[in-house]
Symmetry: C2
Subunit: 450 residues, 2 copies
């Protein structure tokens, strides 16, 4: 956006920037060097965000819209249309209006209708939530009309997103809503309906998993994931997609038709439906089988790997707290692993941890613990290449060379090499020293002094 | 079953044992030492199985039933009832009748009704397909009535399965069908309906994945997996479960109710349904989120791991053919990895391979290639412990000690140690020798002769 103005002179007003993805963008763009104004209904929250992110808070959408070179609407779906109507007429000529709502047809039409001549409109759907660390590898969908696609602002926004590592997709708003009606709408609808069905039939979920095929287990886990989300967001994604009724209707009709075929014991009818769906999927059917295989295989092989580590030292990273615990893996029980740490037994949910062993464990320990060390001086013949010795010893020890000395006080034809060996406790270091000296003795070295 | 008869005197007749899971059991039980008779409609196929498995084929179900100490019905679901009626009256007093159908209420009732007094009935549902290597960790459900649960045969069967490593669940047939109506019936029904919906809406599956959330990708992959299966089996699993109509009806009602709520923009109604389903799931909702996270994380971290291996040597195991290819990982492109092998580029679907590197690669190479070797004799001082030297060298080389010699022709105070070092080609071995001798020279050894 450098050509239009310098970054430091460019003001971005985020309407609804005190929460959720709006706040995320406020922080992200502030770090990129832009001036940021945020608005929000809750003044106290706004003042806190102002301090936290070092941005400006205004309790007035229209004023913020007037001040922004870029104005971004970041309010919940159900009030987006209303806020656009309020704010869009006040965006200055030559400036840019965007929104970041999960639906695109309504915001696109409304923004187009209510902005002044000479304002660029770029409706946007960032396909990620506020827990994402950066734009890297994230999908961002833009749905500008043809006119705005040719604007300078569009080029600037597009290039900025690509430079930040996002995967940018540009499609018409109608197509966006049609695809999202499937990708989000149908997916959420089916799994919420399944969850509600299991409740109606009073299925004991935990017990049912005992009989589970891996595919049932995956289905249950997706239901659990979806019904645990913010229900208002999910309601709005359904309710504000103009294509959703058609999608619901098609799905319910398919269910009813297949159910009728089953009731009539019409085997050939059932087979025809399955085969036609498979034909429509084409190579994607096989890909699906492979993909789900991998997902299932990855999970069961994690358990197998853990079983091989019983009795060994591991590090356990709690994915909720990001805390790391070091200890001995004592046992695996259902979803849990038991870690012995300083004589105490800790229990971790395997689904909620990452486990490190081997080389990764070594590196983690180095990062997490203060290492103690001991210096050992050893005499080797002058002709010996200390790098060869060091490379060999590094395979067994955490060791470096800190000094090489020849001459005075050193036996003729010899040089003194001082090794620094590391350990995590005095006792451990004592053991390491003993082993180290035993090896030195056998590979032509002799201890000088410690 | 040793108390009733010796294995080698015990005859197991498998009705429909020339195909699918029936054939699988014929092979498995033959290997365990039982006499096996199989029947089937196709005489040529039967003769082939007879030769292949070294079992007896009879083209007559009733005769086979008369001869079996154990008779197992292993025919497709849609003819199970008919075959039971034909066969059950001919099972001898004191013998055992089983079936291995995926539904249990109908076979259980039919077997109970048609067997003679004094025949034990153990209806069985092995929860796996014929691609499974053994009973280890597989779920097997038994649905005998109370009377048969107390029988000697039941104890034998139960203990046999447990000894083979299976997870055995014993429940009433009605409960089995109710649970399977969910675990298999509802799952298949929902995903087949989804697949059919995507076809009706003419969704371009591959294109839709570009916009995919990980959850949509998982859903698509499960649909693809299910609609690619044997449609007749899936038809029968729906049609012969006596509970399926109620399950379909409940699901369709939930879909219609939620769709109506969405049409009416009844946000609070939608939220209530999601919250109630989440409440019913309880801690399973969170578990689902974690579990699906792991599945998604496992897949993306596999790609990340592969990216780190570009330019390095790897082994690629094709999961379709089980062939292993060694080479340099050149690149990753979408679903594919490019392997350079002997100057040629090979392309593999990442979803269809297992990749080995590091220690695993080393072990694989040892198994797959003939190693060449070279013997090198080295003089070390007598005081040197050759095990210390060997352990150190093993960190860098594929090496062993094949001879230690002291005395005649050896310099006073020294011993000769002969190492055998391995490599996979003459050129590689030459390089290894050079490096090996350089290290030997630096750790107090001297070359004697080669």
């Amino acid at each position: 956006m450098e050509n239009i103005k310098d970054k430091k002179d460019l003001t971005i007003s985020i309407i609804g920037g005190t929460d959720g993805l709006g706040k995320w963008f406020a922080k992200y763009l502030k770090n990129k060097g832009f001036n940021i104004i945020v608005t929000g209904r809750d003044v106290e929250k706004g003042k806190n965000v102002e301090k936290e992110l070092n941005v400006k808070f205004i309790n007035n959408n229209i004023e913020a819209a007037k001040k922004g070179d870029i104005v971004i609407i970041a309010v919940p779906i159900n009030v987006t249309e209303k806020v656009i109507k309020e704010v869009a007429p006040h965006v200055r000529k030559g400036c840019l209006l965007m929104d970041i709502t999960s639906i695109k047809e309504i915001p696109t039409k409304t923004m187009e209708k209510y902005v002044r001549e000479g304002v660029t409109v770029i409706p946007t759907h960032p396909m990620f939530g506020p827990s994402t660390p950066s734009l890297l590898r994230q999908v961002v969908i833009l749905t500008p009309t043809e006119k705005h696609k040719k604007s300078e602002w569009f080029e600037k926004v597009y290039n900025f997103l690509v430079k930040e590592g996002a995967k940018v997709i540009v499609i018409p708003a109608e197509k966006h809503d049609r695809i999202m009606g499937i990708v989000q709408g149908l997916t959420h609808f089916a799994f919420i309906s399944l969850g509600s069905t299991l409740k109606e039939l009073n299925v004991d979920i935990k017990e049912s998993r005992k009989f589970a095929s891996p595919i049932y287990e995956l289905m249950i886990s997706i239901i659990g994931r979806i019904i645990g989300q913010n229900p208002y967001l999910y309601a709005d994604i359904q309710m504000f997609n103009p294509r959703i009724q058609e999608i619901h209707k098609t799905f319910i009709n398919q269910c009813m038709e297949i159910s009728k075929i089953v009731a009539n014991k019409d085997r050939e009818g059932f087979v025809k439906i399955m085969k036609e769906a498979a034909k429509h999927f084409g190579s994607e059917a096989k890909r699906g089988a492979y993909y789900s295989d991998k997902a299932v295989f990855a999970l069961s092989s994690e358990i197998e790997k853990l079983n091989k580590l019983i009795g060994k030292e591991i590090a356990v990273k709690n994915l909720n707290s990001n805390n790391i615990h070091f200890g001995i893996l004592k046992n695996i029980e259902d979803d849990y692993l038991i870690l012995e740490k300083n004589g105490k037994e800790l229990k971790f949910n395997i689904l909620r941890v990452e486990v490190f062993s081997g080389e990764e464990l070594k590196n983690l320990k180095k990062k997490h613990f203060e290492r103690k060390y001991s210096d050992i001086s050893v005499l080797f013949k002058k002709s010996v290449d200390e790098n060869v010795i060091l490379n060999l010893l590094k395979k067994l020890f955490d060791v470096e060379i800190i000094d090489i000395y020849e001459g005075d006080k050193i036996e003729e034809g010899y040089k003194s090499i001082t090794f620094r060996i590391y350990g995590y406790s005095k006792d451990e270091l004592k053991e390491i020293e003993k082993e180290f000296l035993n090896i030195i003795k056998n590979i032509g070295g002799k201890e000088r002094f410690k």
